[in-house]
Symmetry: C2
Subunit: 243 residues, 2 copies
């Protein structure tokens, strides 16, 4: 038994970071993707992937997470929640992924173990300004198509993790919403999280429990429908009401 064990080769693999960045554009939850451009027999094929890259030997994983996100998207200074590590030996077995790794990183790869992080941003003018020099796209989470590597699995896991995180820490919702938001915006996000539609009355009941969502003296402007009141998140009340 011991002999057999010693003959097997220990894994010695590249380690990468992938970042799932979620943003809410007031109507839909979206995820940030970057292009994976592959030259296959002279034909350029473009898939999409999460921003991420292999970490360097002289950097910690958390450092690499922030570095790769900024290098590929311009986004910096966000909280990054590590949610899962993927190490299947087959995760880099698709031909186009292998070609992309060789063409882009100039390395021959057996397996890459990747650690995935989740971040939240407000999809506002600031973030669009930060990212405008980069080849990024914001795609509705329900409509990403086929992603590179095992990134479709990563996205599903990220969304499941997001739902649990909000359940435990509702504060996360307000990292996605604009500073001033309408009840409709809050409800839209909430429905996505709960994976069910809520009628206005049921959502009003839910709102009563969220004492930290407080009305402002401002209303929407320049809208065709009746202007909705704006609400804001009150962190002081939130901290008092949470155990």
């Amino acid at each position: 038994m011991r002999d057999t064990v010693q003959k097997r080769q220990y894994a010695n693999n590249h380690i990468s970071i992938d970042s799932v960045v979620l943003g809410f554009d007031e109507q839909q939850l979206k995820v940030l993707l970057v292009p994976q451009q592959v030259n296959m027999d002279g034909k350029i094929i473009i898939y999409r992937k999460f921003p991420g890259n292999i970490i360097y030997q002289d950097e910690d994983m958390e450092e690499a997470a922030h570095r790769t996100l900024e290098e590929l998207t311009g986004i910096h200074g966000v909280s990054m929640y590590q949610f899962k590590t993927y190490g299947s030996r087959n995760r880099t077995s698709k031909p186009k992924d292998l070609i992309w790794l060789q063409q882009t990183l100039n390395i021959k790869v057996e397996r890459i173990v990747t650690t995935a992080y989740l971040s939240f941003v407000k999809l506002d003018a600031n973030i669009l300004h930060s990212t405008k020099r980069y080849a990024v796209t914001w795609v509705p989470v329900n409509n990403v198509g086929e992603l590179a590597f095992d990134h479709n699995t990563l996205l599903n896991d990220a969304l499941a993790y997001f739902r649990k995180l909000v359940d435990y820490c509702p504060l996360i919702m307000f990292e996605l919403l604009p500073r001033k938001f309408t009840i409709l915006q809050l409800r839209t996000l909430y429905e996505f999280i709960c994976q069910k539609e809520m009628d206005v009355r049921n959502f009003q009941k839910k709102m009563v429990q969220m004492e930290y969502v407080v009305p402002m003296d401002e209303h929407e402007e320049g809208v065709r429908h009746r202007a909705a009141r704006f609400y804001k998140f009150d962190k002081v009340i939130y901290n008092k009401t949470r155990r």
Copy 2:
């Protein structure tokens, strides 16, 4: 900028698995440790660590998690919850850890990225039988002393993860409790999870909410105090009452 970046060396590291296995001995929450025996200048020093090892090139991480746990402790067939990956470049910098890696695995290691898993077992005759041929010890979680590598951090993170997991899925508590348990046992475990003592009356109120904890027609035997009634966990009721 690009030139500087390309000169840095990509990490190519061993990947390991570490397992934090929690057990409840009816009075205390305990964690399973294995010895880390090091020969330092002819003197044998023994530290403790979590059961774990480097994964092989031809196995998936989940496979490696189950394999290493069984090889080192005899425990098999348990659920393993992946909770965090540790990749600090300094995590294998303590001299005794480096010596142990060389003496035990015969490898020179720069950094090992480790993925940590959490499991729960009933500390009963079965588990003691499974582990009796192995050099394992069950140590109260509050009293583990200095562990190898960054394993004290792993333990703290594992306990924080355990508390969140129970909050989300109370079922986990009953993976730790014996099949028949007393209210005192349930309260002891519950107090550990909530990190606060509860008086009997307050805990009774809490119990009313746990409809899935049902009284049995059996009582403790051969005890000096008044024999307490046994309770059991009813999974059918649990599944009905959970959303």
